[in-house]
Every structure is written in structure tokens, then in C-alpha cells.
């Protein structure tokens, strides 16, 4: 565990563990419910990648910005999002973060500086860069963190954003969640690079590779990048290598992955791995960890039930919020 573990302290370590367990439990609840046909849209599960959100969010200040991806449930939960309102959003109900109009892929929560998940792959990179520009412009030492996948780094928009962040030395942290696939497209087919963090070199700022299944390693890398950004040292690209436990979205059987490789990553599941460390270091007992699991399970049972019971938005909401000052709906809409 080393020095990072000491910095975090026992209570903090247990919170990191709990954070990962909450994300896993949220995702498994969503998974089961979706399969039963209870939720609209597409769901991209974060199971297996929890250490990244947990580790990064732990070093952010409350007023920093985050911008996330289509695989974004874990980020908002780790940032302090309310699972009740998240489930309501997944169900398309009024108590959701976007009043049920955004669903899984478009949750946004300004209350947590969370500028939105996004159905467009890699959108966070550009929007996050803009938020970082705002931080620098205001001079308030906030930072902006963008989350995105390996596939996203092949979009032109990624390269434009990183160059802008570099030339203006923006307090931007790019968290590249490399789960080694963009849908069915493996990293070896979509790029010549072994380490995608190398892309940062093209723009002249640090790129760091980290074990994305090791929450303390992620936390340490993020802490360093955030500190550098706050001091005016400019952006960092952190490549966290990880693996999604399920298919690309619920319904994708992920037959394109090698079962042996898949198993080897399941064996490195970040949650039990970190649990073992906590027990070995005497930070928690097995029984305490199990109790956390049970508490979280009960919390998520209640949260998903809350979401399910929330009402559907009224049809009048369909045309609201397209423009400012037009809460009643767009005048040109509707039918004759």
C-alpha cells in the first residue's frame, strides 16, 4: 500500500473501498433490472473499472469539474451523486437528475460540478478542456477532469482538445479509461501504440500509465496531476488500464474477447483485490468488509425502488427547456 495508503488513512481507505462497492452494486442492480425490461435506452456498465472513478474523485475538491462518458454511472456516484436520483433517471422518471429526459447516457449534475455524461464518444475531452479554460480564466485554481475510453482517442476532436490544453497550459486532467476495446474493436486494431498515454508527448505534456484496477495507484497519479494543474503546471493525460466485466452495453455478449484474457482480468477484480489489502494491513476485517457489502446492497435496493416508483414526466415537459425563457415549450413545435 505504501505511502499513499498512509496519506489516506484508515477511514479514507475504507471509504475508497465502499465507493467501489457502491458503484458495483449500482451497476448490478441496473443490469438485472434492464434485463427484465424495466429500463429504456442503452446501458453501458462500469463494472470492473470502479477503481478509476473512486481513485480520481478522491483527490478532487468539491468545486472542481468533471465531465464523463456513456459509461458514466460510476463517475457520478464516486463524485457524491445520489443513487436514488440516478436510478430515477435511468428509469426515465421525473425525480431523475435530468427529470427523466436524459437517461443513463446524459446524466448531468451541476451540484457536483458534473457537466454531464454524453452519448457522443469522447465529448468530455472537448467540454472538459473548455471548463479547464474557464478555471484558468477565472484564476480560481479549480481543475477540470474529463473521462473517456481508449476508442475515443482516435477521434480528431481528442487531438484538437489536447493541443489546445497544451498551448494554453490549462488545468485539465484527461483520464483515459483503457478497457482495451471500443465496442468490438481491440486496441491492437485501432492504434499502433502500446501505451495510449504516449499520445500526450505529441502535445508536449506528461502522459502517465497507471494500473486502473489499483485504486491507490490511480489515486496517486491523479493527486500528482491535480496538484500540477492547480499550480499552473498544465494538463496531464493519465491512461488507466482496465477491463469491463460485461459486454459493451447490456445485450452485447462480447464474444470478440479472448476468454482466457477475460478471466485473467476477472481474477484481478479491483474490489476483492483492494479488500485483501485492507485485511492484510489490518485496516478492516473480513466481517467489516462484508458488512459494507450488505449495507450497500440495502442502500441500492432502496434506491432502485425509489427510481421505479418515481412518476413519469408529464407530456408537457417534452418541449420544455429547448430555449431560455420558453419554459412552456417551443412555439413552432406541436402538430396542427
Amino acid at each position: 500500500m505504501g505511502s499513499v495508503g498512509e496519506q489516506v488513512g484508515s477511514a479514507g481507505l475504507i471509504e475508497l473501498y465502499r465507493c467501489m462497492v457502491r458503484i458495483r452494486s449500482f451497476e448490478e442492480h441496473a443490469h438485472k433490472t434492464f434485463l427484465k425490461g424495466g429500463m429504456p435506452g442503452f446501458l453501458h456498465l462500469y463494472s470492473g473499472e470502479e477503481a478509476i472513478a473512486a481513485g480520481v474523485m478522491d483527490v478532487l475538491a468539491p468545486d472542481d469539474y468533471i465531465v464523463t462518458s456513456h459509461r458514466g454511472h460510476g463517475h457520478l456516484l464516486a463524485r457524491g451523486g445520489d443513487p436514488k436520483r440516478m436510478f430515477a433517471e435511468l428509469y426515465g422518471r421525473v425525480d431523475g437528475y435530468c427529470r427523466g429526459k436524459g437517461g443513463s447516457m446524459h446524466i448531468a449534475d451541476m451540484g457536483h460540478g458534473m457537466l454531464g455524461a454524453n452519448g457522443i464518444v469522447g465529448a468530455a475531452v472537448n467540454i472538459g478542456t473548455g471548463a479547464a479554460f474557464a478555471c484558468k480564466y477565472r484564476g480560481d485554481r479549480r481543475v477540470s477532469v474529463a473521462f473517456f475510453g481508449d476508442g475515443s482517442t482516435n477521434r480528431g476532436t481528442f487531438h484538437e482538445a489536447l493541443n489546445l490544453a497544451a498551448i494554453w497550459e490549462l488545468p485539465a486532467i484527461y483520464i483515459l479509461e483503457n478497457n482495451h476495446y471500443g465496442v468490438a474493436n481491440p486496441q491492437s486494431d485501432h492504434t499502433k501504440l502500446k501505451d495510449l498515454a504516449d499520445r500526450a508527448a505529441a502535445y508536449g505534456f506528461p502522459g502517465v500509465v497507471v494500473d486502473g484496477n489499483d485504486v491507490l495507484a490511480v489515486r496517486a497519479a491523479a493527486a500528482e496531476a491535480v496538484e500540477r494543474a492547480r499550480q499552473g503546471g498544465g494538463p496531464t493525460l493519465i491512461e488507466a488500464k482496465t477491463w469491463r466485466h460485461w459486454g459493451h452495453f447490456i445485450g452485447d455478449s462480447a464474444k470478440y474477447r479472448d476468454p482466457v484474457e477475460h478471466q485473467s482480468w476477472l481474477d484481478r477484480d479491483p474490489i476483492p483485490a483492494f479488500g485483501k489489502v485492507l485485511v492484510a494491513k489490518g485496516v478492516a476485517t473480513e466481517a467489516e468488509l462484508q458488512a459494507i457489502g450488505e449495507e450497500v446492497e440495502a442502500e441500492m435496493d432502496a434506491a432502485i425502488e425509489y427510481g421505479r416508483q418515481s412518476p413519469f414526466p408529464d407530456v408537457s415537459e417534452l418541449t420544455m427547456d429547448v430555449y431560455v425563457g420558453d419554459p412552456q415549450g417551443t412555439s413552432a413545435g406541436g402538430r396542427s
Partner: protein, 326 residues
């Protein structure tokens, strides 16, 4: 004759065109190993190999931009965009280059490119995964815009698009993909671009739609007939660009009434163009104003709200009754 769904009909059209045309290349995200997220290109990489069915990185502008260069250099690329809502980075390439090459080079060269993409609602997704932005393509001179309504139409229209010398944007209504089967001949056939289809003849009013909503107006026509309200003529526009105003106008001259149905936002939707064409060419034949039943001027919403957003046959029937009393 085999009864196929639209996914299989398109797959078959692609396979037959690839068999015929050694210069044809399919490219896009997950079109090869995965067979496409909707399985439209299933089996093609096995048949044609990874040099002709190319899995690309996630890079829409890269895919379409490259396809344009390939087309000018003598190939016949077929690019897939995973959902039409992801096409906008490539819109730059389509508008600035694909559409203009023929004119820019004074006919010297052209871009025989087809960009296929699923579009439209009814699949319980939202925003980019459900939108219907065909009008922003139909507005671009130099692009052809084709939207099939059923499996038979899909095979014939796609086959024509694949043989067309100019760039074609081919919208596939995702909600129709597996919803209906029609008879689809095994032998290759084409349906010419720029020719609307009179699905059913009628005398009292003309119902006009494309894509998934051809089904809506067919259902409405059936109800109107069953209730002995009216005998409606049903027109599937098929290609928004070039638009076959002659078929539409001839019908409206006969019936004197027109209802246009689309799920795209109302303002500047393609219905506005059709309505204007009718006004310009058949105003003296009109018994009543042209009616549009459309989506709202907002983003396609999630879940239940979508039921309200989408036009349905009941709305068409109500509108028809009102029109007949006008």
C-alpha cells in the same frame, strides 16, 4: 420467395453488390468482426475478407473523409455510421467535399460513395440514437438522400444507391430493422432513385411519408377505409433528394388534400419542402390547406415521452377527418 427483415435484406444487397463489384469496399466501426451493432453486415467479412470489409477506429470524419478520397481514386466505398446521430463530424466531409466534387471539377470526377446509417426513433433510445435529421442532408445540393420503408424497398434502393455515380446518404429506419418481413427476391434488382412509390391508390386525400412512417400512413388509410371515411392515396417518398414532386403533385391534383407525416422536428423538416412544392404546383387543386403531422421542435426524448413525440396512425386519421370537413 424468401421473407426477410430489413437487416437481412440490406445484408443481401451489400453481399450481391460486393460480389459484382470488385472495387466495392465496406468500412466503419464494428462492421467486420462484429458484423455491425445491428448485425447488418453479418457474414460479410467472412466472405470478402478484412481487406474489403474494414473495421475502422472510432473516427467518423476519418472514415467518410477517407472514403471520399478512395471514391475519387476509383473505389466504391460504403461507409457505415453506427447511428445517424454520430455523423456530424463527418457532415463536414459530406457537405464540403463529397457533395461538391462533381461540380467543383466540372464533371471531371465524382464521388460514388454510399454512407449508410440507422436513424429514427421507436427503439426506446434518445437523442443521437433516435433522431431523424434527414432534412439537413436533403438541403445539400450534390447529396442524394434515400430512406427505405420496408425490406423489399431497402434491398432495391440500396442496390441502386450502390450503383449510383454520386454520393448517397442512405438512412435505415432502425425501428423497421427487425419489425417487419416482406418478400425479397434472391436475384439482384434495383429501384431507381428519385421515383416515389404510390403504395395504394385513392381518391379523397393523399398521405405522404417515408421510412418507418409509411407504415403509419398505411395503417391510417386502412382505418379510414374501414370506417368508410375516405379512400386515401398512400405515397412513399423513398428518396428525399432527388425528390419526385411529379408523383406527389399528380396525386394531390387528383385528391385535393394532402397530409405529410414525419418524425423529424417540424420546422424546416422535409415536410415543409413537400408542402411548398404542392403549393407551387397544385394550389388551384387544393380543397384544404396541406397538413403536416410531425415530431416536435425538440430533441427526441427518452422512454414514455417518445410515445407522445412520435406521430401515429390515430393522429393521421383525426387530421384526415378534419381535412375532409374543411
Amino acid at each position: 420467395m424468401a421473407r426477410l427483415n430489413m437487416v437481412d435484406a440490406i445484408d443481401q444487397a451489400l453481399q450481391q453488390a460486393m460480389d459484382r463489384d470488385p472495387k466495392m469496399v465496406i468500412m466503419g466501426e464494428d462492421v467486420g468482426r462484429d458484423g455491425g451493432v445491428f448485425r447488418v453486415t453479418d457474414g460479410l467479412i467472412q466472405r470478402f475478407g478484412d481487406q474489403r470489409v474494414i473495421d475502422t477506429p472510432l473516427a467518423e470524419s476519418g472514415i467518410v473523409g477517407m472514403a471520399i478520397g478512395m471514391a475519387i481514386a476509383g473505389y466504391h466505398p460504403v461507409a457505415e455510421i453506427q447511428f445517424s446521430g454520430f455523423v456530424y463530424p463527418a457532415y463536414d466531409q459530406l457537405v464540403c467535399h463529397a457533395a461538391r466534387m462533381r461540380n467543383r471539377s466540372r464533371g471531371e470526377f465524382t464521388v460514388p460513395l454510399v454512407v449508410r446509417m440507422p436513424y429514427g426513433g421507436g427503439i426506446r433510445a434518445l437523442e443521437h440514437h433516435s433522431e431523424s435529421m434527414e432534412a439537413v442532408f436533403a438541403h445539400v445540393p450534390g447529396l442524394k438522400v434515400v430512406i427505405p420503408a420496408d425490406p423489399y424497398e431497402a434491398k432495391g434502393l440500396l442496390s441502386a444507391a450502390l450503383a449510383d455515380p454520386d454520393p448517397v446518404v442512405f438512412f435505415e429506419p432502425a425501428r423497421v430493422y427487425r419489425a417487419i418481413k416482406t418478400e425479397v427476391p434472391e436475384e439482384p434488382y434495383t429501384i431507381p432513385l428519385g421515383k416515389a412509390r404510390v403504395v395504394q391508390e385513392g381518391t379523397d386525400l393523399t398521405l405522404i411519408a417515408w421510412g418507418a412512417h409509411v407504415r403509419t400512413i398505411k395503417d391510417a388509410a386502412q382505418k379510414l377505409e374501414a370506417e368508410a371515411v375516405a379512400k386515401a392515396e398512400v405515397i412513399d417518398v423513398r428518396t428525399l433528394s432527388p425528390f419526385d414532386y411529379e408523383t406527389v403533385v399528380a396525386s394531390v391534383r387528383k385528391t385535393g388534400r394532402a397530409i405529410i407525416v414525419h418524425e423529424a422536428p417540424r420546422s424546416c423538416g422535409f415536410g415543409a419542402e413537400i408542402s411548398a412544392q404542392i403549393m407551387e404546383r397544385a394550389v388551384l387543386h387544393l380543397e384544404a390547406p396541406v397538413v403536416r403531422i410531425t415530431g416536435f421542435d425538440t430533441m427526441p426524448p427518452l422512454g414514455r415521452l417518445e410515445d407522445y413525440y412520435q406521430p401515429d396512425a390515430g393522429m393521421v386519421v383525426d387530421a384526415a377527418k378534419a381535412l375532409l370537413k374543411f
